[in-house]
């Protein structure tokens, strides 16, 4: 009986297509990755049931009505003016708290514009009161 010798096979793994496979995966991840970062105005809400008594001298009332008109301490103002007014108020009294009050039907857009102005004025103490009914 003759035992045949096994044919020699090449023992290497073909790697010529490795780059193609890697490219394919790379393109998939390139396409699915979204680089855009979420941005926005940050705010820390107070925990429930935390109400502090504050003297009236340290409060500035900022009212926004349903039409988006703004009133700071009984004086009507335009939204782009808020920044400077609040800056002055903070300079006069660093302890001042800005109490933002909105109407139920006030649009969120106006609220964000006002909040943006307050942030630009570096106001740290912002209180958000419940909408008037």
């Amino acid at each position: 009986m003759v035992v045949e010798k096994k044919k020699e096979r090449s023992s290497e793994i073909p790697t010529s297509s490795l780059a193609d496979i890697a490219f394919l995966l790379l393109i998939f991840f390139l396409v699915t990755t979204t680089i855009d970062v979420d941005k926005g105005i940050g705010l820390v809400l107070p925990p429930k049931g935390e109400a502090k008594e504050v003297s009236k001298r340290n409060i500035t009332n900022l009212l926004i009505n349903a039409e988006g008109k703004v009133m700071i301490d009984e004086q009507e103002t335009d939204i782009p003016m808020i920044k400077n007014i609040i800056k002055e108020k903070i300079a006069q009294n660093p302890k001042i708290i800005i109490s933002v009050k909105t109407d139920e039907n006030t649009k969120y857009r106006y609220y964000i514009q006002v909040l943006d102005q307050l942030k630009q004025a570096n106001a740290r103490k912002i209180s958000i009161a419940e909408p008037e009914k």
């Binding site: 790697t15 890697a22 979420d38 941005k39 926005g40 105005i41 969120y108 514009q113 909408p131």
Partner: protein, 141 residues
Amino acid sequence: MALKFKRKSGAEGGIPTASLPDIVFMLLIFFMVSTVFKEFRGIPVRLPAAKKIEKLPGKRNVVYLWADDRDRVSMDDKFIEIREISNIMYNKLNDPTKQIRVISMKIDGQAKMATVTKVHEELRETGGAALNVNYSTKTAN
């Protein structure tokens, strides 16, 4: 006088491609690691614009909440009642696999403040990390 032109020494043509897979793999690994898949699609909203904005701390530790101009609220790709928020948030905060740090609110500019305040109240009910709110906005010019 006749000029003599020297023949350039024959440079080898062809770019060496032996290290190509390595480079591609490196890029691939970078993108694999940095990719965060979107978990939820949300509902279409037109975000308001603001100037003084801050970035969210990554995308992994964020809970998203949507509210549109018809005052419908959506979380986890479902429309929900506002009063359900505190329960949902409580479960999310107690999920050991996730460390929630901030709530990103994507609210339409035309939504009413009544809705926003109700959402605030629910988040205050939950407490903890749910108090960290970020009002998602576009960048104003």
